[in-house]
Amino acid sequence: MTAAATLPDPASLRARARELSVIASAAERAAARFSARALAGARDEDAATISGALSRIARAHRLAVQSINGFAGHLEDAAQRRLALRQLVDATRAAPRADRAVVAHVQELCGELVTQLDREVDEAAQRYAEALRAATPRTAEADEVAEAVALALDHASARLLQLAGSDPDPAP
C-alpha cells in the first residue's frame, strides 16, 4: 500500500506533466508538417511513416499528461479533505466545555475518514499508473518510432543542407 508519506508532491507531478505536454505539442506540430508534406523532398511513404510515428508519440504523451494531472488533482483534493478533517478535530478539541467523549468520538470518526482517504488515494494511484502503463509502448513499437524520428532528422538534415547550398536567388 502507498503510505501518504511516499506520495509525490502534486506540484512536481504537474511540472512533469507540463514537460510531457511540451513534447506532445512539438510532436503534433512536426507530425502536421510531415503530414502536409511541408518538408519538400520527403518521399510520400517516408512522410507517412514519420508523421504516424510522431503522432503516436504525441497521443501517448497526451494520455500521460491526462493521467498525471488527474492524479495530481486527486492528491490535491485529498490533501484539502485531510486538512478539513484535522481542523474539525482541532476545533472540537478546543471547544469550551468540550465533552471528552464527544472529542474522542470525533477523533475516531476523522481517523476512519483519513484511512478511507488514504485507501482512495492508493486506488487512484493504481488506476493512474495503469493508465500510464497503457500509454507505454512495447519495445518493437518504440523501436519503429525511434527509427522514424531518426529518419525525420535525416530528411530535415538533407533539406537544410540543400537550402544552405542553394542559390540565394532561386529560379522561379
Partner: protein, 96 residues
C-alpha cells in the same frame, strides 16, 4: 535573402529536437521522487520510448544538436556554418 522554407525548417528542427529527447534522451529518465506507484510507472513510460542502444542514441542526439544549430545558422544567414555543421560526421563516441 533567406527563403521562408528555412524558417519553417528551423521550426521543424526545433520541434524534432524536442522529440529527439524522447527517443534519445541526454539523461536516463528518472522516477518522480517518492512517487509511490505512479512515479515508477512514469519512469517506465519515459524509458520505454528510448529503446535504442547507447552509441545509436548518442549519434541521434548528436545529429539533433548539430542540425538544430545548423537550422539556426541558416536562419541567421550563415549558410557556410550551416553546411559545415550538417556535413560533419555524427560522433557516437566522444574522443575528448
Amino acid at each position: 535573402m533567406i527563403p521562408t522554407e528555412s524558417h519553417e525548417l528551423a521550426e521543424l528542427v526545433a520541434d524534432l529536437t524536442v522529440v529527439i529527447d524522447v527517443v534519445a534522451p541526454p539523461h536516463p529518465p528518472a522516477a518522480i521522487e517518492a512517487g509511490g506507484t505512479v512515479g515508477p510507472a512514469l519512469a517506465s513510460f519515459a524509458a520505454a520510448w528510448c529503446p535504442l542502444a547507447g552509441a545509436r542514441t548518442a549519434a541521434i542526439a548528436d545529429q539533433a544538436v548539430r542540425i538544430a544549430a545548423a537550422g539556426m545558422a541558416l536562419v541567421e544567414g550563415d549558410p557556410v556554418t550551416a553546411r559545415r555543421l550538417i556535413a560533419s560526421e555524427p560522433t557516437p563516441t566522444t574522443t575528448a
